[in-house]
Amino acid sequence: MEKSQTARENAIEVVGLTREYSTRNFFGGVARVTKALNGIDFTVKRGELFGLIGPNGAGKTTTVKILTTLLTQTSGEAFILGLDVRKDLYEIRRRIGIVFGGERGLYNRVSALDNLRYFSDLYGVEPSVARERIPQLLKAVGLAERADERVEKYSRGMKQRLHIAKALVHDPELLVLDEPTIGLDPGGARDIRNMIREMQKQGKTILLTTHYMFEAEELCQRVAVISKGKIVALDTPSALKRLVRDISVIELRTYGATTEYVDALKQLPNVVRVVAELDSEVQTIRIQSPLGADLLPQVMSALPLDAKIIDRTIKEPTLEDAYLRLVEE
């Protein structure tokens, strides 16, 4: 069944993958065609932890759906463990595990144990193996004590840990983690990241999609940045960060900063980009500029009278800075 010569090395091979969505008019004719993926190529090596990052609507979920055989591509090819996603879907499904982010994917009115037993049977795990493996998994994800409780009583973090156990129940070779830490509190997200590391230690190949750049930077060996259906960069996190080595980042923590202040900062000469989180009581503003600390006097003078800077730091650019440059270009 192995289709590709490189299948022994690569767990995922994607060549010219394109996916179009058509909207139909009242008479059934095609009104509009949207290209969600526009001929993307990438490979993921066996045992690698590979990140796919991009803004909403960039094509991450479409890619994941095609690779997990839930959606058919319009053109191009994709191979998982050497198997064609169009033709060998059941064999692929048997050998991969999927973690969907958010609240999807679990039967809330029954227990964690019932969920795992059901999915274990669906994936064809031998009952004698399942009897050993399910309690081990529940213990490993910290749910053994509450395994008999209905999932609807679980916190968001517990549900996500159960998702991990569910994805591992049939001992897959490859894991697809679609935004696994979305909506989790910092502690819950850290638990999940630790589990991802452990899974990689077991030799599993992992494809991770995430919105959180620090997560991709912390976990992934290589990262593909996808924007408007195209891969705009693919490299290690440190190599991607070198794309923005010409800039420094001034990070401000402020009280009372407004959108007007952010707009004023954007107008300053030599400011490349300003990213602000203004929703909370203490605001965080990141200013990218080649001037670094030399820009500080201008930053301070633009500050409104009733606003106050709590803290200011000059930082090296992160993957997020590189990402922003890539997706905005």
Partner: protein, 280 residues
Amino acid sequence: MGDLTDLTPGRRIDGYTARRAQVLKACIVLTAKLFFADPQWIVPSIIAPFIFTLVAFFLFGGEASTGSFLLYLVLGSGLMGMWGTTIYGSSNSIGFDRWNGTMESTLAAPIPLSWIALGRVLFNTFEGVINALFILVIGLAWFQVGFGVINPGLFFLASLSTFLSLSAFGLLMCTVILLSRKGGFITNSMEIPVYIATGTMFPVSILPMVALPFAFLLAPTWGIEAIRLSALPGYTGLATDYWVDLAVLAVETLAYLGMAFVLFKRVEAYAKRNGTLEEY
């Protein structure tokens, strides 16, 4: 927390029949657990049967009614309950995954969706049988009729065959739900016409000619005939033989199954092309 690196290695069942049996068992067990986890199970299983029996009593139950006719009514009420539960439960068995957010997980499983649906439909039909039995018990007690079926063996065979035909029909209905998010409207609206067309409450022979082809294409029509022929003394109905009814029932059930499996394959492929299956 424990260690994810220290787990018993996974091992799979590979045989075709063993795999499908495992999936059917898993789906039957999960559907049963989900069913009883919701307190609303009392409505279709206890309240609805009681109402069916009550309606039948007020419509037909009078002093002039003979024991045989009352048994006819009780059987009809039971079959109505069985049909109602099957059509509702079965057609929604996969639709449930849509609004529960489990459609992607179900679709991602390494087994054709038709087998997952079949397991769920089998439980829902079984629940329909329980419903029918409940009606039967209430009806017999209410009308004070003895359950004197003329041939218990043939009665059991006809009931079992009708159970299987309802499951096959339920599976066919599942594909409608898969095709469209509004599929539930179609399957629910079929409930009453099918009560009439299959002759649950009055003989099919009194239906207008134009309705007869539809009635004959419904396998439960033949199942109900066979049940009545095996239960009621002197029953003529469509004037067919018990074994002819059972043969037609078998052929139509197999046709439903065949159509359902083909449709499932096509619907799955269609939905994968359009990316609509998990939308709700």
